[in-house]
Symmetry: C2
Subunit: 205 residues, 2 copies
Amino acid sequence: MPKKKRQILPKEQRRQQLIEATIRCIARDGLGSITMHMVTQEAGLSLGIANLHFKTKDNLLKETLRSVAEEYHGGQIAIMEGHRTAGLADRLASLLAFQLGRGVTQRQKMAVWFAYYGEAGARPVYQKIVSASDRMAALTLESLFTDIIEEGQYKDANPAEIAMGYSALIDGLHLALLVTPREISKRQAKAIARNFLHRAFPRHI
Amino acid sequence: MPKKKRQILPKEQRRQQLIEATIRCIARDGLGSITMHMVTQEAGLSLGIANLHFKTKDNLLKETLRSVAEEYHGGQIAIMEGHRTAGLADRLASLLAFQLGRGVTQRQKMAVWFAYYGEAGARPVYQKIVSASDRMAALTLESLFTDIIEEGQYKDANPAEIAMGYSALIDGLHLALLVTPREISKRQAKAIARNFLHRAFPRHI
DNA sequence: TATGGGAATGAATGATCGTTCATTCTGAGT
DNA sequence: ACTCAGAATGAACGATCATTCATTCCCATA
């Protein structure tokens, strides 16, 4: 076994390295049984390093959640706002592909996501971190649906309600993929979500 | 302060008492930071009692999950199978009322539910406990939908897919009610679920 | 009323884990 | 080549917590 050599790297890189190790540890062992020893070992670093870059374990966990939340909601918002050139139907399809695509439905990401949701009821800090980006994503989704309803002349369609329903459905599908992967495939999950959108906006998807 | 008197009670009653205390503690402090001291104190009993009735903390947590899962899925199955006399439309409405009604949407119950889901990715034992009753409930739901599809002559409707979608939607709504209660009311959640069912079975609800 | 089986107690134990900080080591700047 | 600011290390400490078990106490039974 080659002895690993100590290396000095910029702060930002070490922070990212530790956050990624934390994600892997949460996915493998759960948020409840994670230890600093695990995380730093997973990162290939020493115990004390965590104290250097994040003051406490609690802080490391908060920053990890923030990172995952921003990645998810950021990706979502980018699709909805970024491709202003693309048509509404295309944006809808891209959104669905993103939310149930390779990047997001990795066990690792979903496990982290729900590990935090599980503690959110008891830890307002987690709620706060998520709700910041969550609210923004919800508003963007609502605005996309508003445009679609106008373009498609869908009568009696309430964009806020459809957006809440759609978001809930996606969350529920992620949960099913995480907890009972043998009962549902990604293909089925996509079909179900597409069906929901099709019933709401039949002329767009 | 009146000194509490030691009392001897049947095993089953103590077990229930401890499980209920565990549920309250999980809802208040989270599955991650629960201690035996908390639970036994919440139950108004002594530390050692937990070892007497459940061998270990781990076992107490497993039994608590089993209890919550059975209460939820059991209630669901009772509605779908119990009222064989009632019409299909009534059963559908009862199911919805139960799943988003007072009993189930208490913060306490939902918090426990998602606390375990959060750890399920890393703890196969939890998955196993839930999937036992979950699978049964899913099959019963599917069979109800099959009957409704036949009665309503809904063409091209896949009962298994609609059942998975509906279950996911309900889970997602519970999650939203737990994590962002300010963004969604129980009334809205019911409307969203009802809408989903209405689009699938317009002549039944 | 007397008594034994076993339910209930909680101080003590040992293990685990977060955090600290004296020390070592690196590499950019001179 | 030399230097030193500060990045990185990990042994040690103290706090927390699950678990144990010797002891106390209740109450059904006789």
